[in-house]
């Protein structure tokens, strides 16, 4: 497979997994938690590297899940002791991210793990780091990790689909029916952490937030069904990823930056033209109402 095809495939996998997880993030009103987790997983990656001296898939994933869960627990802990929720999020993730940055700068800084890479990602390097996979031949490490995480996320969402729906819509009813709302919350936080860290290599901590939130926020404007929202969000993620790649090639600029920009374009178009919630249709109905 060609160099460009690997990048497009990897970027699309980022779009798919972030899009699907993002839909639930938006509906659970946890967009800010995505921002938090995407930064604090850096600490998880660095610590995992310090312990194992490896930057391979599985260590990074475990480190990220632990860091993500720690973020969720700490945010909840401060909040339950009287700190406002958004302040609590802001305090926890910046501190964890800062520790990660300090550790990188002093202990582990090298070609593969530096602050710029962590923030912006470097999708152009991805096709160079390949691993041998039975039957499939050589495929890039990041692509393999993303595929595995995508499969896991889709599997967990599908088997607990009705539980995700009810705990997102009405957690009080869910709890009264005996559905473990708190456990589901932490499973979800783990999924966000996994998705974030898998996408990290490609698009970095800041752009992953764009991929998690913006396609989902766009999809929300187009449909009244949860399942369709998830599929649309995944589709918008892929479209933005591919569009971003070609914008980057055209302007000769950062791929991850262009991908995030493309998610913004998709959102703007949705905001203006979606038939249900779009600005254009609302103005149209308003003028139609005024005419009658």
């Amino acid at each position: 497979m060609s160099y460009a095809m690997w990048i497009l495939l990897t970027a699309s996998l980022v779009g798919l997994s972030c899009g699907i997880v993002g839909a639930l993030l938006i509906l659970r009103r946890m967009a800010m938690m995505a921002d938090a987790i995407s930064h604090s997983v850096l600490l998880g990656i660095v610590v995992a590297y310090l312990i194992t001296r490896e930057l391979s898939g599985i260590h990074m994933l475990i480190g990220a899940v632990i860091a993500g869960l720690l973020t969720a627990v700490l945010v909840q802990w401060f909040h339950s002791r009287g700190v406002q929720k958004d302040a609590s999020i802001g305090v926890v993730f910046t501190t964890m991210f800062a520790i990660g940055v300090v550790l990188i700068a002093t202990k582990v800084g090298n070609a593969h793990l530096d602050t710029k890479h962590a923030l912006m990602g470097e999708i152009t390097f991805i096709p160079w780091e390949k691993v041998q996979v039975p039957w499939l031949g050589e495929i890039p490490q990041a692509t393999l990790t993303l595929s595995a995480v995508l499969l896991l996320v889709v599997f967990i969402i599908l088997i607990f689909y009705k539980e995700w729906k009810i705990t997102s819509f009405d957690p009080a009813l869910a709890a009264s029916l005996g559905i473990p709302v708190v456990l589901m919350h932490y499973i979800f936080m783990s999924m966000v952490s996994l998705t974030t860290v898998a996408a990290f290599d490609a698009v970095g901590a800041i752009m992953v937030v764009a991929m998690l939130i913006t396609p989902a926020a766009s999809a929300y404007l187009w449909t009244d069904r949860l399942s369709i929202m998830m599929m649309l969000s995944a589709l918008f993620g892929v479209v933005s990823a591919i569009m971003g790649y070609y914008i980057a090639v055209w302007l000769d600029t950062s791929i991850s930056g262009s991908m995030a920009f493309a998610t913004g374009l998709v959102f703007l178009l949705s905001f203006l033209f979606s038939p249900k919630h779009g600005l254009a249709s609302r103005l149209h109905y308003r003028s139609a109402a005024a005419d009658s």
């Binding site: 009287g82 539980e163 819509f169 009405d170 009080a172 709890a175 029916l177 949860l226």
Partner: protein, 243 residues
């Protein structure tokens, strides 16, 4: 007769403020009880504590002599309408079907039978024409009827409802009260957080006056007196029927 609910010395706090203090009461089966009290009296918190959605500091709650865990499938809960996001991408029938998720169990999806049951309950609330309507497009009264339908589909023996009549239109109020009386006639027990003192006597056969603790509890005719209401509301009562 054995009490359906037995609450002993229950206390609970919310953000360091104690909102419930040594609450004691027992509820007999087949009764329709209004929980009334001023704002901040702990009415919603009481329901949440009974359902273990909010932790209690002390005391005990038992249902038919058993604990909540064993009784969960026989208890229905209607949260306040404002507690959920009505912009959620789903339709009325789907919300009602959620009432069955506990029965359906893990790893299984609602099948046609479940959806038919949900539809029958929507119909019972006069909402069958709105089954596939996105929930944000329903009026406040219609949303409340959807919540009631969701409680009905649970087919519980004991219901807790948090302000089901708040902000609804007259037709919805009538439909909901008709449904509550039917539940009572079927021998079910219903406890309702209620805010309208004028309708207590018409709607409920029992009343529980709550302001951090229970000030009076019993049959409406005996307990819902001007004296008791004044005592419960302290100085905060703005309206009282001319006796």
């Amino acid at each position: 007769m054995m009490s359906v609910i037995e609450v002993k010395d229950v206390s609970a706090s919310y953000r360091k403020n104690q909102v419930l203090h040594n609450v004691n009461f027992e509820v007999q089966p087949g009764t329709l009880t209004a929980i009334i009290g001023p704002n901040g009296a702990g009415k919603s918190t009481l329901l949440k504590v009974l359902l273990e959605l909010h932790p209690k500091l002390s005391g005990s709650v038992s249902f038919l002599g058993s604990n909540l865990k064993r009784m969960k499938k026989r208890i229905g809960y209607v949260p306040q309408r404002g507690s959920v996001d009505w912009d959620f991408p789903t339709h009325a029938l789907d919300v009602v079907t959620m009432g069955l998720y506990g029965h359906i169990g893990w790893f299984r999806r609602p099948n046609r039978k479940h959806v038919e049951r949900a539809m029958a309950c929507l119909k019972q609330m006069g909402m069958e024409d709105y089954a596939y309507r996105q929930i944000s497009q329903l009026s406040g009264g219609q949303q409340q009827r959807v919540f009631l339908a969701r409680a009905l589909v649970q087919d519980a023996d004991l219901y807790f409802m948090d302000e089901p009549l708040a902000g609804v239109d007259a037709a919805t109020e009538k439909a909901i009260m008709h449904t509550l009386k039917e539940l009572k006639e079927q021998g079910k027990t219903v406890m309702v957080v209620h805010h309208d003192l004028q309708t207590v006597e018409d709607y409920f056969d029992h009343v529980l006056l709550l302001n951090r603790s229970v000030w009076a509890h019993g049959p409406t005719k005996e307990v819902f007196t001007q004296d008791n209401v004044y005592r419960t509301y302290g100085g905060t009562l703005r309206w009282m029927k001319e006796a």
